[in-house]
C-alpha cells in the first residue's frame, strides 16, 4: 500500500502544473487554489447524494485519505458496505475501502493531507538525535527528511521520492521498529510518571488536611479535659501543666509519625526514580553496543622506524650464542640483545630536547621537579633507555 506515491495530481501541486518543480507555482497552488471544487459553498451539501445539513442536521462528512473526496456518512455506508468500490466523485477512479473513511480533522483538506503525509514519513524516518555523531549530521538528516516530505506533499517527483522512501523503509526495517517501540515506551513511562506524580500530590494534600484536623481536635479535647478536671476540683496549676505535657507528647508522637512517613515516601520516591533511571541507562547502553574490536596490544606497539631487525648478524660474539647449548637450552634469544643494541644506537634520533622538556614540564606541572627530571635523564644515559 503506497498511497503516497500515487497521489491524485489534482490535489495540491498547482493542478498538474506542479511536477515541473518550480517552487513558487507550488506555493501558489498550496495557498491560493481551492483544493476541491466540491467542498466549497456555505451550504454543506454532500457531493454524492446532494443532501444538505439544512435538511439533515445530523449529517456527517467523511473523507478517505486515498483521494480526500468528501462525502456524507450515509453515502459511505451505501456505497462501500459491500466491499471496496470506486470513488463516486466523477473523474476520480480510486478504489476506496470503508474502514479507511474518517472524519476530517482540519477544515482545509490540504492541511489534512499534509498532516497525514507527515505522520507517515515520521513513522518511517524516526531516527533520534542521540543516534547521530553530531548536531550537523542530525540536521542534515532532518533536511533530507523534509525534502522527501515536501516532495510528497507537493507532488514533486512523486515516483522517484516514493521509491526512495520505500527503499529506506525496507533497508531500515529493524531500526524503525526499535525506535517505534522506544517511543512507545517513553510515552508509556512518561504518562505513568505523570500519573504517579499527580497521585502523590493528592496524597500529600490529603495528609496535610488530615493532620490539621487531628491537631485541632486534640487541642479541643485537651481543653475539655482540663476544664473537666478543674470542675471536679483538682489543683489548677498541676492540671494546666499536665495538660500541656500531654499535648506536647502527642505532638511529638505525631511529628515522629510524619517523619517516618516522610522517610518511607522518600525511599519509595528514590526507588521510583532509580527504576526510571535504570531503564534510561539500559537504553543508552544498547545504543553504545557496537564496540571497537579488541586490540590485544592496547594500541602500544614497539617498533622502530629507524631499523629493521635481522635474524642473523655476522659477529662471533653473537653467533656463538646460537651454537652454545647452554644459551639455546636456557631460552636465551640473541635477538633481544641485538634489538636492544640497535635501539641504543638509534635512540635519540628524532628526539628534540626542547619538545621533550616542555612535554615533561607539562606532565609534572611543576618546574621544581627539574631535579628529578635531570636524574631521570642521567639514568637514561647510563643504560637501556629505549625511547624507540
Amino acid at each position: 500500500m503506497s498511497p503516497v506515491s500515487k497521489r491524485d495530481p489534482r490535489l495540491g501541486g498547482g493542478g498538474g502544473g506542479g511536477p515541473d518543480g518550480e517552487l513558487h507555482t507550488v506555493m501558489r497552488g498550496l495557498s491560493l487554489q481551492a483544493p476541491m471544487p466540491t467542498d466549497t459553498g456555505p451550504a454543506e451539501v454532500c457531493p454524492v447524494c446532494k443532501s444538505s445539513r439544512y435538511l439533515n442536521s445530523s449529517l456527517r462528512f467523511l473523507v478517505n485519505p486515498e483521494c480526500y473526496h468528501k462525502m456524507c456518512e450515509s453515502c459511505v455506508d451505501r456505497i462501500f458496505s459491500h466491499g471496496p468500490a470506486q470513488c463516486p466523485i466523477p473523474g476520480c477512479r480510486r478504489t476506496l475501502r470503508k474502514h479507511r473513511f474518517r472524519e476530517q480533522t482540519f477544515e482545509d483538506i490540504q492541511v489534512e493531507r499534509e498532516v497525514d503525509i507527515r505522520k507517515k514519513v515520521q513513522a518511517v524516518f524516526n531516527k533520534r538525535e542521540e543516534e547521530f555523531e553530531g548536531l550537523r549530521e542530525y540536521n542534515d538528516y532532518l533536511n533530507d527528511v523534509e525534502d522527501i516530505t515536501f516532495n510528497l506533499v507537493n507532488n514533486i517527483d512523486v515516483e522517484e521520492t516514493g521509491r526512495r522512501f520505500e527503499a529506506y523503509q525496507k533497508a531500515n526495517e529493524k531500526e524503525i521498529e526499535e525506535n517505534a517501540q522506544l517511543a512507545q515506551q517513553e510515552k508509556v513511562s512518561f504518562s505513568a510518571m505523570q500519573k504517579a506524580e499527580r497521585q502523590q500530590a493528592r496524597e500529600r494534600r490529603d495528609a496535610a488536611r488530615r493532620e490539621e484536623n487531628d491537631e485541632r481536635r486534640e487541642v479541643e479535647e485537651n481543653k475539655r479535659d482540663v476544664l473537666n478536671r478543674l470542675a471536679s476540683g483538682a489543683d489548677a496549676e498541676t492540671v494546666a501543666k499536665e495538660g500541656q505535657q500531654v499535648q506536647l507528647k502527642k505532638r511529638m508522637d505525631r511529628q515522629a509519625a510524619t517523619e517516618r512517613q516522610r522517610q518511607l515516601q522518600a525511599a519509595s520516591d528514590s526507588r521510583n526514580g532509580s527504576s526510571n533511571f535504570v531503564v534510561k541507562g539500559l537504553k543508552a547502553k544498547q545504543k553504545a553496543e557496537p564496540e571497537a574490536p579488541i586490540d590485544p596490544f592496547g594500541g602500544i606497539r614497539i617498533a622502530s622506524k629507524y631499523f629493521t631487525l635481522q635474524d642473523h648478524y655476522v659477529w662471533e660474539g653473537i653467533q656463538d650464542t646460537q651454537k652454545d647449548v647452554k644459551h639455546i637450552a636456557g631460552g636465551y634469544d640473541v635477538r633481544d640483545y641485538t634489538h636492544r643494541s640497535l635501539c641504543a644506537a638509534f635512540s635519540g634520533l628524532g628526539v628534540f630536547i626542547a619538545d621533550e622538556m616542555t612535554e615533561r614540564d607539562r606532565a609534572t606541572q611543576d618546574s621544581e621537579a627539574i631535579g628529578t627530571v635531570r636524574a631521570d635523564i642521567g639514568l637514561k644515559d647510563s643504560l637501556m633507555a629505549d625511547p624507540l
Partner: protein, 407 residues
Amino acid sequence: MATSPALDVPAEPPAKRRKVSPEPPGRNDTLAATAASPPAVADLAEQLDEQERKKYVKGKKIGSGQYADVFSAHLVTNPTKLVAIKKIKVGPEVKEFGISYDSLREIKFLQELDHPNIIKLHSVFSTKNQNLNLVLEHLPQGDLLKLIQDSQGITYTPADIKSWMLMLCRAVYFCHANSVLHRDIKPNNLLIAANGEIKLADFGLARAMADPFQPMTYNTITIWYRPPELFFQAQHYGGAVDVWSVGCVFAELIAREVMFRAWPENEINMVKIICEKVGTPTEDNWPGVSKLRGYVTPGDVVPLRPREEWLANFRAIGDIGVDLLIKMLTLDPRQRLTAEGVLRHEFWTANPRPSRLEDLPRKGGGVEAMGESLKQRGGELPRDGGGAANGRADRVARKIDFGNMKK
C-alpha cells in the same frame, strides 16, 4: 665490577647522579661541589630532595613489613590526589652493601616504564637517615591473589579472566619490548587500581636482558612461578621465564589454586610436580636440556600431557584459552610463546569479549591490601603470613645470590 656483590646488578651504579644514593659528604660529586662550599647551606642535592619531600603529605601507615613500611599520602597542592609512599627500611646490610638492590632495581625500572598496566613511580626522595621513599601510584583495590583466594565471596567469569590476563600480558610485553625482565610475576604482585585496572608491581627482582655470555642468576622468581629452565640452573635465559609465570597465573585464575604447588617448597619437589603436571623435560621435547648444569629429573619419564588432559582440567576457559595456556606452559623456553606471541594469540579476539573494567569483580580489600602487598620483598611467598616469612629468609633470592658470588 669484581667487587660488586651480585652479578645481577649492572656494573655502573644506575643512580649515580641521584640524590637517593647515600653520598659520603666529602665526595667530589659534580652536583655537590657547586653548592657545598659553605657547610651551613645544604647542598643542591639535599635542597632538591627536600623540595620533592615537601610535595607530599604523609598519612597513616597502611602496611608494615620486614622490608618496608607503606604509608598513604597525598599531594600538598591537591588532597584528592592520593599516592602511596613505600619507605624502605634501613637494614644492617646497608652499612656493608649500601642500598639494597631491590630498591635500586625497582627505582631504575619503574622510572623507565610508563604503561597503564605497570605501577607508576611518581618520585623518589630520602629522609634524614638516608631512608628511601618511593612515591607510588595509589592502588586501593587490593591484589589479584585476594580475588583468587576469596572463592566464597568472589565469583568471576572467563571474560573477567581474559580481561585481567590481557592487561597482565600487555604489561609483560611492554617490559620485554623495553628489554626488562620482571622475574617475579605472581598474583600478589598484580595490584588493582580504583578503576579495576591491573598494575604490575614490585620490580625488586627485575633486570635488563643480559648481553651474550653475561650470566644471570637462576635463583629468582617466586618458586611456585619459576620456570623449569631456572630449576635446571640456566644462566642465559630470556623473556620466556616471565611467560611461564604468566601461564602459572593464568592457570591459577582458572582453577583458583596454585598450578605448581610443591610442598615442602624446594626445587626438587617443584621439578617433580612440573614433570607430573606437564611432562618430563627430555632431549626430545627440549633440545639441549640435559646439558644444563642442574638438569635432574625424578625417576620415570612422564610423557608430555596430552591436550585432552589439559582440556579436562581447564575446561572453563574454552578450547582456545587452553591452547594459549599450553603454549605458555611449554617446557622448552624456545618453543614457549614470547610475550608478543601471547598477544598475537587468537584467544584475545575470540568470544567472549574481555570484560570491561567497570564490570570486573571487586574485592575492595582497601588500602591495607596494597600496603600488605607492597611491603613484601621480591621472591617471598605471601601465603603463610608475615611471621613465617622471617624463618624462611634462607630461600630468598638475594641471600643465595651472595653465596654464589664467592665461587
